[in-house]
Symmetry: C2
Subunit: 291 residues, 2 copies
């Protein structure tokens, strides 16, 4: 705990992904392989777990929310594939493996990303376990958070900041969209899907905002101090060198303090739920994680 | 007629697109501009018109289906933007203007495409005029038709056929997915949205399949005989030279016959609707079109 529960959610999600993106042996097999290569690359499925947990906290059976949790993972994965493209961040590696376009070529990577984004909505809209009304509300929230006013807006800002030294405020805004928006989609989406109250929705938002920012700052710390920093140097990735990050703006020590403060903030927001243990332990776990 | 009705639908759709993709003056203005550049490039909005008309034929008010018609146009436009990318078809021109990435760069074009696909679902899912149940069914149908088992599947096949001489059967299958699937989404989506009968859905499918294939064959004819053929040569586009098309497989005369036969087939399918005039005239109009 929370690793135990996270593993259970993760196993549920991986089985769901197998179901919603079935292996095809027809002439499209290459693009299916490309989709699955990135989708089943051993991520922690934090976003999916958050959606399932908030759905549970608002009275639902996690299994019933699986098409939405899996949809969210497909959206997250498509954004990573497109982000790594040569015309975007130009990253050769992702999670310690070659990035999608390095294995399958740029054209297939573009289409695999498109396919995953599409399949995410198809999966959410074709499900029959959650009633149409809350399902629409949750899917609309996820679409809003992943689009131009959410994650894609953050990717646009990220590109615009490239090569410039970003201000503290610009960095926070970019991160709250690029990383934060999907975490917000997960937490709020789970509440909406279960027909939760406005108060539960607010608590979910507050938790998501604090957790999302802490997550990104911890990520920036790990890019400098963790295994990834070594890997980054070995593979010539410049993720840790060129870009403005929280570490480059505040320095390592201040960043560690920020992560602690934001984690406490997330834990306080979780107090709105009596059965808050997983949310709080997850926040602590993510703040301490080493990769 | 049908130009008159088509123009009315088109005006409705353009006003809808303005509403669903509002001009932003914040720091993301460049990507909004990129989305609008391709979305409002003066297309005929055939897909949107078909959705609105089938919705009307099944008892709905076209205005109420506008978020779905506009969503479909956004999906169509995103696919063109990504199709034109250097790593895909590498086309410098689209509808007689520079393609999106030639104006805004590859990174913005990738994100503009992503943003339009996302925004399409956001628009369909956020609407409040059509009840949640039929809205979900229509949006799921559109997602299925535009995804891996539909349009994107066709794009994958198209890439796989590049540089090879495709068989008649391969060409038909590719076109029925790449071009046909969205036309099917439009016709069947309109019926589903209005809660139409199974018989209406079948008639919509039969109409769409015949119209979609006729549309593509006419397109291939125009690539060789029309203004586009001249433009293609002037701009160095190799669309008309390298690829297997219906014209390269069957020759011009046989293609003209095929278009006539398929148009008759579409007109017969339209007979399932008593108020069939627009559907039939539209099929004739598209078969005769010069661009």
């Amino acid at each position: 705990m929370p690793e135990e529960r996270l593993k259970q959610y993760s196993a549920l999600v991986e089985a769901g992904l197998e179901r919603y993106l079935p292996q095809e042996t027809c002439r499209h097999s290459r693009i299916f392989e490309a989709c699955r290569y990135s989708l089943l690359a051993g991520g922690k499925h934090i976003r999916a777990a958050l959606l399932l947990e908030f759905y549970r906290l608002c009275g639902g059976q996690p299994e019933d929310a699986l098409p939405f949790a899996c949809g969210l993972e497909m959206i997250h994965t498509y954004s990573l594939i497109h982000d790594d493209l040569p015309c975007m961040d130009d990253d050769d590696y992702r999670r310690g493996r070659l990035s999608n376009h390095k294995v399958y070529g740029d054209a297939t990577a573009v289409l695999a990303g498109d396919a995953l984004l599409n399949r995410a909505f198809e999966t959410m809209l074709s499900q029959r376990t959650v009633a149409a009304e809350p399902a629409m509300r949750a899917a609309a929230c996820i679409a809003r958070c992943s689009g131009l006013y959410g994650m894609i807006g953050g990717q646009v800002q990220d590109l615009a900041l490239e090569g410039k030294s970003a201000s503290d405020e610009e960095l926070r805004e970019m991160v709250s969209l690029k990383t934060g928006a999907l975490i917000r989609a997960a937490c709020v989406g789970g509440v909406l899907l279960a027909g939760g109250t406005a108060a539960q929705q607010q608590a979910a938002e507050a938790y998501a905002d604090a957790l999302g920012l802490a997550f990104q700052i911890r990520d920036d710390i790990l890019d400098v101090t963790g295994d990834r920093a070594v890997l980054g140097k070995a593979t010539g990735s410049d993720a840790a060198n060129d870009k403005t990050t929280f570490v480059s703006v505040y320095g390592l020590e201040a960043c560690r303090g920020l992560v602690r403060r934001l984690t406490l903030q997330a834990m306080t927001a979780a107090e709105a739920f009596s059965d808050r243990e997983f949310l709080q332990k997850l926040a602590e776990y993510l703040a301490r994680r080493e990769k």
